[in-house]
Amino acid sequence: MAKTLFEKIWNSHVVVDEGNGRSLLYVDRHLVHEVTSPQAFDGLRMNKRKVRRRDLTFATMDHNVPTTNRSLPIVDQTSATQVKALERNCKEFGIELFGIDSPDQGIVHVIGPELGITLPGTTIVCGDSHTSTHGAFGALAFGIGTSDVEHVLATQCIWIEKPKTFEIRVEGKRKNPHSVTAKDIILSIIKKIGTAGGTGTTFEYRGEAISELSMEQRMTICNMSIEGGARAGLIAPDEKTFDYLRGRRYVPDNYEKLVEYWRENLMTDSNARFDKSFALHVDDIAPQVSWGTNPAMTVDVTGRVPFPDEYAHGNPEEEKAAAKALQYMGLKPGTLVTEIELNRIFIGSCTNSRLEDLIEASKVVKGRKVSPKVRAMIVPGSQHVKKEAEKLGLDAVFKDAGFEWRESGCSMCLGMNPDILAAGERCASTSNRNFEGRQGAGGRTHLVSPVMAAAAAIAGHFVDVREMDLN
């Protein structure tokens, strides 16, 4: 019978099938970070359990780490405690750790692919909802809670209800790939299907516009699957995928043999059926700007901040939520998006902190100055991204323009480290969540692409990057 890519990966990982839709799946790669793991390791200790497959478990610290001078001790004592706890736990349980001083340190979803830990056709879990990122390589990858982190550490398996399949087709070829980005594609999808649109499903992104994307752009798309409610999002691997991973450190020795197998097997069969489908055309996608307090509250940069009833389409609960969001965001309905003024710019996060993101943003910034009303920050996704960017001289481009150039980490995406918004500050952010208080209590987040954030840094308000020459 014809199968989807999801079904093929699922079937090849079932250890126990209970027959009621729920299965025990084998986990090929388990990524661990400092925030969602301490209680899991405690659980192992309490029950005298070991880590079953240390060789398939990798740890880094990203959520809490300062992005300023790393030679100084961490000032926040509770952050320091968590970082130390991870060091201690990795040592005690024998897990490889890319620690704060490692040249491989970075956001877990940036370093997984970068080091070749992420592989097509595998199952990957991590105590972080943006684990969906790794789906860009055709891996079934999803976020789990701390109890499941403990469960995977102890058993290398996870119990999971089989999700339904949801095809997301993006048709056409982008006419302006430098200004209409992967971020705009995924925000447009979430805007249409809603933040619960994918609940209980795994997305598979397909279509010409998806095939055409680079690996880093595909990661941006899959990263935000969770913002559409899906735990995982997949893109079938192709030559770009295989080329990206070839030669990376943790790729197995029999890589070319694996590639042959992946090439033959890791795709949705032509007559396979999805449980749900949604399609859009790239010609209908403009640069996006979120105006509210969830990622579906997004409009075209050429648009206006909507009235609550306009957004809610007759749903009274959503209308109430939109009114509340406008109040929180300090925005008046009808305001042109390009008239929204900003105080802060954040380019970073597991969504948009990779080399290509920085290269694209630098083209906007080069030879220009950050608006005097704005404080702007670049936080590369990993130490490798930082080093590569510096080799290209991007740090100088950004610093000359007035950006701060930081060390790698999650930083202001969630503000667990000192990088936060003050109450009332308004930020154009390349991160993934514009929830109330996400970047700091009372802070106002607008989700955008790296080029849109860079352009807003220069202008001091949102601008349509399509009007700039980015080639």
Partner: protein, 196 residues
């Protein structure tokens, strides 16, 4: 885990859609390395003014719902971050049941792992529960929701029901399949191509 039996209590009505886990526990409280003590941070930014005084207009500060074990809320509760701290905070505060029309997938799992019962109901039932003046009784064994003027059943995956009622340790259950896991590993290590 404390076994789940029957819960009867007044319900706390949180009349909001798409409540994300960043609201349930804001990130500044994720730095603790234990599972307890998160109740004081539950809905922190909605519950307190900046200066720390309780906000009178927030339901958790309403004395009518003091001691409530049931949280009523709208669609897509628990979306966003995978932080299990959200479930720990609800439990630590005293909630054992959350009722909504839908839950985000990761949060839904996290509830069961901590002895919280997330109950999915139809929109009309949820509306009636929001309007009821009486206490609500949740019987997991019988899978029923009762108030003075309502008696409906709810569905739940049999596995989760068993875990909750018996207060089972999930990992101990899985470890019974140890031979199957080991066999999977051997088969796959020997198969070509392999990634294990």
């Amino acid at each position: 885990m404390e076994p789940f039996t029957k819960i009867r209590s007044v319900a706390t009505p949180l009349d909001k859609v798409n409540v994300d886990t960043d609201q349930i526990v804001p990130k500044q409280f994720l730095k603790l390395v234990q599972k307890t003590g998160f109740g004081q941070y539950l809905f922190f930014d909605w519950r307190y003014e900046r200066d720390g005084t309780p906000r009178k207009d927030f339901v958790l500060n309403d004395s009518r719902y003091k001691g409530s074990k049931i949280l009523l809320t709208r669609n897509n509760f628990g979306c966003g971050s995978s932080r299990e701290h959200a479930a720990w905070a609800l439990l630590d505060f005293g909630f054992r049941v959350v009722i909504s029309t839908s839950f985000a997938d990761i949060f839904y799992n996290n509830c069961f792992k901590n002895g919280i019962l997330p109950v999915k109901v139809e929109e009309q039932v949820l509306q009636k529960l929001f309007e009821t003046k009486s206490e609500i009784e949740i019987d997991l064994e019988k899978q029923t929701i009762k108030t003075d003027d309502l008696n409906v059943s709810f569905s739940i995956e049999p596995h989760w029901k068993k875990i909750l009622i018996e207060g089972l340790d999930d990992i101990a259950v899985t470890l019974k399949y140890d031979d199957r896991i080991a066999k999977y590993e051997t088969d796959h290590r020997n198969s070509n191509p392999r990634v294990l």
